[in-house]
Amino acid sequence: MRVGLFITCLVDGLFPDVGDAMVQLLRRLDVDVDVPLQQTCCGQMHINSGYGSLALPLIKNQVRAFDGYDAIVAPSASCVGSVRHQYEQIARERSDGQLVNEVQDLSKRTYELSEFLVDVLGVTDVGAYFPHRVTYHPTCHSLRVLRTGDRAIRLLEAVEGIDLVALTQAESCCGFGGTFALKNSDVSGAMLADKVECVVQSGARFVTAADSSCLMHIGGGLTRAGSGAHTIHLAEVLASTR
């Protein structure tokens, strides 16, 4: 199986450690993972900001970059959500029949990390060791767009040494929403404050999630609040060993 790491532009530029963790984890599970350097950004930001036509070259590039890979795995539910639920609409609006076929095919091969581990590899115990108190925030795109259900929880529960604690109001949005955090920064800040409070109340040292974007937002809020809790991507928890 030829597996391509869909790194996402955010992880590529700002959170390279998450990318390293993805590679480490997948290699440990005997996945021959490759990083096609043709990839750039999936275009989600453009689509969600109302610039669908500017996303078109990015969508076409994504198709080219991952041509020939059997499975494409990403450390982001929202980027996978964009490929799966937005690409086809953009292609259809432009009556581009060939692109419609290409993105349908791409979408079938694209997985978020927990989906890839549980559904494709069929593992929940990835042999990780993480002796810390951790709480899990199901991001909106994991929960309601990809509907990854309890996959991440099952993966985390199998981690040796972990003390997994519940997050109250876990299913509430953290308030990131891409450019929403800038355009409606006050509302975003109010939502963030509530999420930060729930994380702090959980007593966890780490809050983990499937999306670096939401974690960047939550982490920025935790630091600003002077909390001792940190953010960590699901891939980083699962990549940790003794």
């Binding site: 350097l37 909106c140 990131f176 929403g177 409606n184 982490g219």
Partner: protein, 486 residues
């Protein structure tokens, strides 16, 4: 996309537009901590009630699909069903009036009331009349309109605006309501407590006199059945019964999308609506009437006001499936923080963010499609499966298009978006762009710079720290390591 000049809701009348863009109105609303507490308590409790009664029905998803399909049939065959409704209402002695927009509907209603000589009318269940500003038009004609839904009455007596589709006074708590009653109800008990039964009793006494003396009632409609000409209202207080039966003249204002083709379609919607709206298995009062009854004249005003224009957009038209249950408001994290007034329209929350800009045209409500994190909670609870998140994204596109047409200079945002699309369009350019990251690390290392980031970017640092910029991008490290490895 070209729109064929179908008129939207006109400016200067009704309540579909705010005075300021959503982010500004929301910022003000957030300062009101009492409002946030009231909203949190109310939405949290109604969410739980809805979830419990929806979970009771094993065929909820099928009901939802049926609801969506019936409404899509209505929208696809609107003309036929409207004519069928008109024929059946007329056959049963009612008079049907067609109103292109708010101004026409108001003029028709005002003339009908003036014709009766009434100076005071009672109203029930009529967000459509709030949409068109009917009370204002009646007032100009010297007619006072009394709202009889408890929450509408609270809003009216408080000289205020509804902030929720179903619970218009959700922004008020019981102490505030007692204060309003003490101030505004002429013969209220001065010892009135803030106990809900006491408040309800005070409203009941106040309204009873109005019901018994009113000569004209104005209502909205939840449903209109094309095949029989029947109108239906669901409510919780019994005021609907009073308004529909006591006055000599009944005037109903309904949006043209409220139709259902057949009587039996009510089976689906009378399950979907109460469970989604109030979290009840069935609402206490369901009133249905067909045409005029002996001793009462009946007028039906069919309101367009931007609905046909909405229907013209294939990616926006399913917003017209909405049955005004407000489940999407109750689960929306944005609505929960800011309340309904920030949306500037009688239709707030997620459905308002897609409906209001379509009724008015995107130019007047351009900030609303951006008032969402696209978290998807609204789609999950919608009883007619309106894909609000995708529609928000579609309308964002229309808002951007509109802005580009209006201004000869590109906006800062569109410059950023174009350059990013350009940079990300090729791996070579993206590689080059990523090499600048360490430089931004140096710039951002100066806290003063971080504090005074330009424009929207300062919105980030108002509430959160920036992430630490890494020394090297993932791909650069990957390339370096691939070179050293065979």
């Amino acid at each position: 996309m070209t729109y064929l000049g179908i008129p939207g809701a006109p400016r200067g009348v009704g309540h579909l537009r705010g005075e300021e863009p959503f982010p500004d109105a929301a910022r003000e609303a957030l300062k009101n901590t009492q409002l946030r507490d009231n909203l949190r308590n109310a939405t949290t409790s109604i969410r739980a009630k809805r979830a419990a009664v929806v979970a009771e029905l094993p065929d909820w998803m099928e009901l939802r699909a049926a609801g969506a399909a019936i409404k899509d049939d209505v929208l696809a065959n609107l003309e036929r069903y409207l004519l069928e409704l008109e024929a059946n209402v007329t056959r049963r002695g009612g008079v049907v009036h067609w109103a292109r927009d708010a101004n026409e509907a108001n003029a028709i209603a005002v003339n009908l009331v003036l014709g009766t000589g009434a100076k005071e009318i009672v109203k029930v269940k009529s967000i459509a009349t709030q949409e068109i500003g009917l009370n204002d038009a009646l007032e100009v004609a010297g007619i006072s309109a009394i709202e009889t839904d408890l929450a509408e009455l609270i809003v009216q007596l408080g000289h205020d605006w509804p902030s929720h589709i179903l619970v218009p006074a959700i922004h008020r708590n019981r102490s505030e309501i007692r204060d309003i009653f003490l101030r505004e109800m002429p013969d209220v008990d001065p010892e009135l407590s803030n106990d809900p039964p006491a408040l309800a009793e005070a409203a009941r006494r106040h309204l009873r006199k109005k019901f018994l003396s009113a000569q004209v009632a104005v209502s909205g409609a939840n449903f209109a059945i094309a095949e029989t000409g029947t109108l239906a209202i669901v409510e919780s207080e019994g005021n609907g019964r009073m308004c529909l039966t006591l006055p000599r003249t009944l005037i109903t204002v309904m949006g043209i999308e409220k139709l259902l083709p057949r009587w039996r379609d009510l089976e689906v919607f009378l399950q979907l609506l109460p469970r989604s709206a109030t979290g009840e298995r069935m609402n206490p009062y369901t009133s249905m009437w067909t045409g005029a009854v002996e001793g009462q004249a009946f007028h039906l005003i069919l309101l367009d006001n931007g609905r046909t224009a909405t229907l013209a957009d294939p990616n926006g038209r399913t917003a017209l499936r909405c049955i005004r249950c407000s489940a999407c408001l109750n689960v929306c994290p944005v609505y929960e923080r800011v309340g309904g007034h920030a949306y500037g329209s009688v239709y707030p929350g997620p459905i308002g963010a897609v409906l209001s800009p379509q009724l008015t045209g995107i130019d007047d409500n351009a900030s609303l499609p951006f008032a969402s994190t696209l978290c998807g909670a609204c789609l999950e609870v919608c009883p007619v499966a309106i894909d609000i998140p995708s529609m928000l994204v579609h309308l964002r596109g229309r808002a951007v298009e509109y802005r580009q047409q209006e201004s000869r200079l590109p906006s800062g945002e569109s410059v950023v978006m174009s350059s990013m699309s350009m940079a990300m369009g090729s791996p070579r350019r993206w590689n080059a762009a990523l090499r600048f990251l360490p430089l931004s690390k140096k710039i951002l290392a100066h806290r003063r710079v971080v504090k005074f980031l330009p424009g929207h970017l300062s919105g980030w640092t108002d509430f959160r720290e920036l992430p630490t910029i890494p020394r090297e991008s993932f791909r650069s490290k990957w390339q370096r390591q691939s070179k050293t490895q065979p």
